[in-house]
Structure formats: structure tokens, C-alpha cells
Amino acid sequence: MPEQQEISLSILKKRWLKFKTLRRGYYSFILLIILYGLSWFLPLLINNRALVVKYNDEIYFPVISGYHAGSFFGQDVPGETIYRELKATWKAEDSDNWLIMPPYPYSPYEDITVQGNKMYEAPSKTHWLGTDNTGRDVFSRLCYAFNISISFALVLSTLNYILGVLIGGSMGYLGGKFDLIFQRIIEIWSSLPMLFVIIIISSIIRPSFFLLIFIYTIVNWIGMTYLMRAEFYREKSKDYVAAALSMGQSNFKVMFKHILPNSLVPIITYFPFSIVGGISALVGLDYLGFGMPPPTPSWGQMLDVGLQNISKYWMVMAPVGAQFITLIMVVFIGEAVREAFDPKVYSRLR
């Protein structure tokens, strides 16, 4: 019956359809994807350099081409052009020259050294979330930090997964001495206070984005490894593995072609929570001053500065709020993914 063939759905497709019905998680998912996608185009949306400048019949794209001195566009300022003022001047003069600013014309790095910027400005129409202790726009930094946080958590989780599947999978599948040795290593490693180890390492070498991820992966792979070990250990004894082995499949193929697809449920359901962990970890490290090198925008650094200026409420509320909204969206997604992939039906007598 060909019709019936079409109706039957793969398990993944079924789960996806189930996920779509869980609206809280599904909408969070869509929204987060859109926001994260947009955040890669932040220089076009939130920046102090003009998108397009028409000056003396020439068209310039300062966002892409970068630095233009003020004198280049006939503006009398030291250093780089202040496009916001330039726009106002040209408008007042009613000149033929024009420029288009990004929708939110403040950059995350632009501090009081730029004319007209002030420290500790309360939220207003121009600075939506105020400015910080060096006159940098809080909203702008918040958005750039969003991109960095999510990217950090994504790369970190992916690396953890790769390590976890490789090591944990081998431990569960191979067993024996390999398993025993790694169990001891993990036992020792997990008895250390990890954040302190990171701080010790970070205080020796000033980490960059990828170095920080590398350090964090070294100390953070254990959770996933244990999960995968248990999963592979359980799957190993099932009939399909024996069947695959009896057909002469190599160990490598059995592990990654047969067992891995059957262990996808914990892998996928755990992923959002791994992201939550990654984001929180970065905020904590940045707060202590051992995260991204300054002046990289980061929620943790903003929180640190905010707490030093406790009377400027926006400097604390903005980063915490941004982190909170991001995390709760991820948690909603995680909850829905778990519900779709690993539904638990509770029956009650009364």
C-alpha cells in the first residue's frame, strides 16, 4: 500500500511535529534562532559608523571600509569622523551630502574619548539602557555580548559533546582497562573545584575566545562523558550490536553508525541545558575578570562594573535581564525538547 508508506513518519519527524505543538518552547526556539542570526549582522544594526555616506558625489561604506578621519568628510574633529554629528550638520546645512546611520548609532567600544559621550547616563531615548562607567552604550554592549555568549556556549557544548562521545563512548563500548583508567582520571579530575582550576590557568595566560573555550573544555568534558559512557554501555549489549558485529562491522562503525544514532535522545535533550551551563559559566568567569579579554563586551564584565556602581540600577539590571531572558528561552526550548524526545506519561490512580 503506497499511500500508507507516505503517511508513516520517521521518528525524528514525529518528534519534530510534537516539538512544534509545544508552543512555549517552539516560539522560544524560533525567536532565539532569529535573534542569534541577526546578531551576526550587528555591525549593520548597532554601530557608530555610517552604513552609506555620499560625500562630494562619491559613495562610501564606512561600516565595511573602516576608519575614515574626520577631515576626510570635512568634519573638524580629531581622529575618526563622528557620523552622528556629521549627519546633523549636513541636515542643518541642507547640503547635497547625506549619510545613513545604522538603526542604533552607538558602538560597544565607543567611550568618553569620543566627543559628546558621557559617563553614567540614565536610560533615555538616545541611550536605551544608559551608558556605563566609561561612557559606552549599555544596550549596544548587551547585544554584542549576546552574540559572544551564545557562540561561546555553542562551540563549548559542541566540543564537549565530541569529547564526551569519543571518550565516554569508548569507555562504555570497550570497557576493560581503558574504562578503568579513565574512570580513575575522571574521579580525580572531578574532585577538583573546576572554576578555580580555570582561574588558576587564566591568571597565567590571558585567554582569548578560543583559548577560553579550550580551557573550559579541558575541565568540563566529564559530565557528557559519563552520560555517554552509560548510554554506550547499555546499548552495547543489545541484539542489533551483536548483529552488526557478526556481519563483520568494525568497532568504529558499530560505535558511530549503529550505537550513536540510537543514543541521540540523551544527546539532544541535554544540549539546551549544556548551553545554559556554558552561558552561565562565561558570565561567572567574566564577572571575576578571568573571561574574555577587555574590552570585549560581556554580561559578566558589565555586571561587575554595575555592582561597583550600585546606584546606577541600569548597569546591573541590563546584563542580568539580558542573561535571564536568554537563559529562560533556552530553558523553555530544553523543556520542550525533552517533552518531545523523551515524553513521560504519568498515570495516577487517584
Binding site: R184, E187, I188, W189, S191, L192, P193, L195, F196, V197, I199, I200, I201, S203, I204, V276, S280, V283, G284, Y287, L288, L303, G306, L307, I310, S311, K312, Y313, V316, M317, P319, V320, Q323, F324, L327, I328, V330, V331, F332, E335, K344, V345, Y346, S347, R348, L349, R350
Partner: protein, 414 residues
């Protein structure tokens, strides 16, 4: 457990010892900077610029190295620190000028020892001409030159963490244990109160949520749990400070500190002290407990839900037992098993993992001390701190096993 302890301490020790910018280098830097500032031309400017340590006289370098214990290979330093390798104390330097093989040295209280250079080694003889049992001596290969043999005379003792000696802090100039004790108490106070509070809130809440699964109460409390899960304790602490700490909104609670400063504290009556303590502790404790709040409640709820749908509950109902008895005796007993096994992990996190909160509330606690020690390169404190954290975790693991065995009658350790 003991191998794990040794393994972790070796790891910590090696990481710390291998780290550049340790206390020795830092002190040398400080001394150099000091010399530069004072304009003292101890060494020529070129020497300083080239980073040479020639600013310091050689003997001072040796003294420093010995003070920080860097005159020994790493494995010896580790064993000394453990307390199973003799620690050299009361150093005195002795010089054998060219041709001399015998030197008298005052070792304090008017006691003179005779050092004799015999072949490759130096032996110490007391006034009776016997080899001294207390004092030993060794040749310092770095300081010795062709016509001058440099030796040190010293006593030895076994003192390390196994004998309860964690060393002396570089920055506080006090024994590490004395630095730690008051701060540990503070962290214990917050940690245990926070843990206790989260248990007495989470377990009933989880039970109630499970019994009313799907109700409005369940939904509303779930929202709270989501919020609690999405906001780390220290970030919540920051928000609470802004809201209630008197910055921009309400001025209800103090901005931080464990309690009022001692000059105020001492004037308070007993009741006043209790009030003052609570006044300072409320916000930190909220921040402290929020971390385990979401996890514990959900764990309790899910495990009870799972148990309620099991067959043995059906059987219990079928026997004609009252619902209260079925739930509170049969189901709950099995549901607290996962909670009991998690108790160790929570203890470990609560005591040692809270320095972010301590930093936010400016509480001079255990975690903050450890963090500051790393910044200051105060190795005795850093090591002592890490060792205590490791021990707490190992003990906490045992505690969870005991708790598990107490709650779950099927598990017995033989």
C-alpha cells in the same frame, strides 16, 4: 578515596608549581621595581632592562628561593608539603674558605657546632665530637665556587598537611589554618542555612506539585522554578542589592558584609546581634539557596510522580490502604532516594562553590579567601584551600552514600 586525594593534590601541586609568575618571581619583580623607584643603582640599568636578576645579590636570591621552597625538585616539595619528607628548618649558611675543612658555627643559644668538610659531604659534630643527631648540613651546589664551598646547616622536621600544618600564608603572615578558620565558619553559616532552607522549601513544594500535577498551583510554581533556574545566584544577588540595598530603589538591607563592623557589633545586645545578623544574612541566603531550589524541587516532583505511577502504589491502594498512608509512607519513602543521594553534591557546592556570591555581597568568606589567594599567588593558602575543598567533596560523597543507605533499605554496605 586516598588515591583520589593523592591524585588531586599532585595535580593541584604540579599546576601551581609549573605556573609562571609564582610568588618567587613576583617578589623579585617587586624588589626590582622598588630598587628602580628609589633610584638605587644596585645593578646597572641595562641589567634590569634585560630582566636579569642581578639586581638582587646572589645570597638574597638563595634566601628567597629557600623561603619559597624552590630550592628543591617538585616531587620533594610535594612530599615535604604532605609531611612525609623532612622539612628543613632554621637554616644557617656556612662558608668554607679555600683550604679550610673545618668551621665552627653558632646555632643559637651559644651552642656551637663543628662542621667538617669530608669529601663530597659536610658532617656536623657537636661539642663532644659526636655526629649531631639534630643538625644536618649539605653543600649548596649553586652558591659554591672554585675556591669557596658554601654549605647550609639546618634541622629537619616532618610537618605537612598530614600533620595538620598547612604552612604560613605569604600575604597574611599567619598560619594558614588561622587564616582559614573564621572564614570557613562564615561560609559554613551561609552554606548550611541556605541548604537547610532549600530542603525545607523544596521537598514539600515538590511533593505538593506532584500531588497536584497539572493544576494552577503546579503551573504557577513551575514558572517560579523556570525563573530560578535561569538566573544564577550571584546575578540574583546583584539584582537584590540594587533593589533593596539602597542604591536606586528601597533602602532595606545593607550592601554587604557578614555582620556589622565589630565596633558596632560589640555594643549590641544579644537580641540586637541576632537581628543584625539576620538583617545582613537575608539577601545572601536567598542568593545562596536559589541555586539548588529549581533542581531540588523538580527532582522531588518527578521522582514522586514516577513512583506514584508504579504498580506497588496500585497494590497499596488495592489493599485498601488510606490514600494518606499510600503517599506519605509508601511513595514518599521511595521518592526521597534520589534527593538523599544528591545531598553530598549539594554540600560540596554550597561550601566551596559560593565565592561568586561572597564577592557580590562582599562577605569575607572561605571562597573569597581562596580566590584572593590565587590572585596574590599565596600558594600555602591556595593549596590549603584546594585541599580542603577536595576533602569536603570526598567526605560529601561518603555522606551521600550513608544518606542513601539510610533512606533506601535495599542498599547495604558490607
Amino acid at each position: 578515596m586516598i588515591p583520589t586525594f593523592l591524585g588531586s593534590t599532585i595535580l593541584i601541586f604540579v599546576i601551581l608549581q609549573m605556573a609562571p609568575g609564582g610568588p618567587l618571581e613576583r617578589t623579585i619583580q617587586q624588589l626590582q621595581a622598588g630598587a628602580l623607584q628609589q633610584g638605587e643603582s644596585v645593578g646597572s640599568v641595562g641589567d634590569i632592562m634585560s630582566g636579569g636578576s642581578s639586581v638582587l645579590p646572589e645570597s638574597a636570591m638563595r634566601e628567597l628561593k629557600r623561603f619559597y621552597g624552590f630550592d628543591k625538585p617538585v616531587y620533594q616539595r610535594y612530599l615535604i608539603w604532605l609531611g612525609i619528607w623532612p622539612r628543613e628548618i632554621r637554616h644557617r649558611e656556612v662558608e668554607f674558605k679555600e683550604g679550610l675543612t673545618e668551621v665552627q658555627k653558632n646555632v643559637g643559644r651559644g651552642v656551637y657546632m663543628t662542621l667538617k668538610l669530608e669529601g663530597d659531604q659536610v658532617n656536623v659534630y657537636d661539642s663532644d665530637g659526636q655526629i649531631s643527631p639534630e643538625w644536618k648540613a649539605s653543600i649548596d651546589p649553586e652558591g659554591s665556587k672554585e675556591n669557596l664551598v658554601l654549605a647550609t646547616i639546618f634541622q629537619t622536621e616532618f610537618s605537612g598537611i598530614l600533620t595538620g600544618n598547612l604552612g604560613t600564608s605569604y600575604t597574611y603572615d599567619q598560619p594558614v589554618t588561622e587564616v582559614m578558620a573564621p572564614r570557613f565558619k562564615i561560609s559554613m553559616f551561609f552554606g548550611l542555612t541556605g541548604m537547610f532552607l532549600s530542603y525545607i522549601v523544596c521537598i514539600p513544594l515538590g511533593i505538593r506539585k506532584a500531588l497536584n500535577h497539572g493544576s494552577a498551583f503546579d503551573f504557577l510554581s513551575s514558572v517560579t522554578i523556570f525563573v530560578a533556574y535561569s538566573i544564577p545566584g550571584f546575578a540574583l544577588g546583584g539584582v537584590l542589592l540594587v533593589l533593596f540595598g539602597g542604591g536606586s530603589f528601597w533602602d532595606v538591607f545593607p550592601l554587604g558584609g557578614f555582620r556589622s563592623p565589630s565596633d558596632v557589633w560589640d555594643t549590641l545586645s544579644w537580641w540586637g546581634q541576632v537581628k543584625d545578623q539576620l538583617w545582613h544574612a537575608i539577601l545572601p541566603i536567598i542568593a545562596w539557596s536559589i541555586g539548588s531550589f529549581a533542581g531540588l524541587t523538580v527532582l522531588m516532583k518527578n521522582s514522586l510522580l514516577e513512583n506514584i505511577s508504579q504498580d506497588y502504589i496500585r497494590t497499596a491502594f488495592a489493599k485498601g490502604l488510606h490514600e494518606k498512608r499510600v503517599i506519605w509512607v509508601h511513595a514518599i519513602r521511595n521518592s526521597v532516594i534520589p534527593i538523599a543521594s544528591g545531598i553530598g553534591g549539594i554540600i560540596g557546592v554550597v561550601i566551596a562553590g559560593s565565592y561568586l556570591i561572597e564577592k557580590v555581597f562582599n562577605i569575607d568568606g572561605f571562597g573569597k579567601m581562596g580566590f584572593q589567594a590565587i590572585l596574590d599567588r599565596d600558594y600555602p593558602i591556595t593549596l590549603g584551600f584546594l585541599v580542603i575543598v577536595v576533602v569536603i567533596r570526598l567526605v560529601a560523597n561518603i555522606l551521600s552514600d550513608i544518606a542513601l543507605a539510610t533512606v533506601d533499605p535495599r542498599i547495604r554496605f558490607k
